[in-house]
Amino acid sequence: MTVPGNEAELLTRVVSGDREAFDAVMRNHQDRVFSVCLRILGDREKALDATQDTFLTVFRKAGQFQGRSAVGTWIYRIAVNTCYDQLRRAQRRPSEPLADHVDPSDPTAEEEMASAALRPEIEAALAQLPRDFRNAVVLSDLEGMSLPEVAEVLGVPVGTVKSRVFRGRRLLAKHLGNQNDQ
């Protein structure tokens, strides 16, 4: 069922407990939130947990949205912070290797590998980046956000984002170069 109204209006209705409005907000952003979380955390289950936590926070804090950014930007910022919180709690590197038991000849292996984060080589390369560089590259080059939007989501100046994206790509290029040499 389509719920009319722009997103800021939807959030206003969420504040008053409108379930349909909240469902609409979720439908609009759940895939991207999940994608961001998965690319940051590198684990599907953790990303699903972070996605749920993100929308719980969205629901609780809907009344605090002040309209200074797009609703989506605000939500993705919550998602990134939720992932950071999860990483701090876990106190471990965000990416994990594929399960050892995956047998490429098994017909279900492809599905299981697809359920892992990204293409393994991309995941591995991103995992080697410093967190700030990785998140900037993920949001910019994988999620397709504009640099001002990335800056808003990460809570840093645009110039900082530009620098992080550049340096992150540079490190990935080195990784690619090393792979090509092998």
């Binding site: 379930r19 629901f59 530009k162 540079r170 990935l172």
Partner: protein
């Protein structure tokens, strides 16, 4: 020393420049800049091969189900807001009431005949404006009807507590009914004090509540023990016993 505008190179690589002339000229004249540009474009193209990430339909359905389960659970917990929090709202309202009564009775603002209506309104307003940390979820449909009446009861009970407080009592009193509901809603047999507190045990024995356990202790103007039958199958009646007098002051 030639400084390379790295952000210009990066922007040229990802196609975000509106005017590429300067950047194109740069990579044509600066070898290092061209190398950086090529590295950037290679990485961007490589990252573009990453498949789109989406949740499966099952994951989406599970997400929605788990999310609403959690929201309902939180709403149920919020319907039993800590007594001290609600009490602080009542106290804040009553401070206003007491203050206004004092001012009005001193004749500063007018006749005392208006005091009752004014203070009652002020007390009610102060309570209504008490800050709430979170907005309780109220479902639009009937699938969450249980939480809405509970919250309505909470509001009514709290308003009643405020009204009672302004109806002529000179001192604060505990919202016994709400606290009893809270104790039942927790649905646990958390025992605050058992045989380790001989005073409690003796008191309970004296008032005929030997088969009860203390499920909460509230230190207010006096100490109040909230006790319930030890038998989890028994009717969940909450009895308030005040110390040190060891008297039953409320049963609900």
């Amino acid at each position: 020393m030639h400084e390379h505008p790295l952000d210009l190179i990066a922007a040229l690589a990802d196609g975000s420049l509106s005017d590429e002339a300067e950047a194109r000229s740069l990579i044509e004249t600066c070898h290092q800049c061209r190398d950086e540009y090529l590295a950037q474009t290679e990485v961007i193209a490589w990252l573009a091969t990453a498949p789109a990430v989406e949740m499966t339909d099952l994951e989406k359905a599970t997400l929605h189900r788990d999310l609403w389960t959690e929201l309902r659970s939180q709403a149920a917990k919020r319907s039993a807001t800590p007594w001290w929090q609600r009490l602080s709202y009542v106290a804040a309202g009553l401070f206003v009431i007491v203050g206004l009564v004092g001012v009005l009775n001193s004749g500063v603002l007018g006749g005392g005949g208006e005091a009752a209506a004014t203070t009652t309104a002020a007390g009610a307003q102060a309570f209504d404006e008490a800050p709430t940390e979170e907005v309780p979820f109220v479902a639009q449909g009937s699938d969450d009807g249980e939480s809405a009446p509970e919250m309505a009861t909470e509001t009514t009970a709290a308003a009643t507590a405020t009204t009672d407080a302004t109806a002529g009592e000179d001192s604060l009193s505990l919202p016994f009914e709400e606290l009893a509901d809270e104790a039942r809603a927790r649905q646990n047999d958390r025992v605050v004090a058992e045989s380790a507190e001989p005073d409690f045990e003796q008191c309970l024995s004296r008032v005929g509540l030997d088969d009860h356990v203390v499920v909460d202790q509230i230190d207010f103007d006096q100490t109040y023990l909230l006790v319930m039958r030890r038998d989890p199958e028994a009717e969940r009646v909450v009895t308030f016993v005040v110390l040190p007098a060891c008297e039953i002051v409320y049963v609900g």
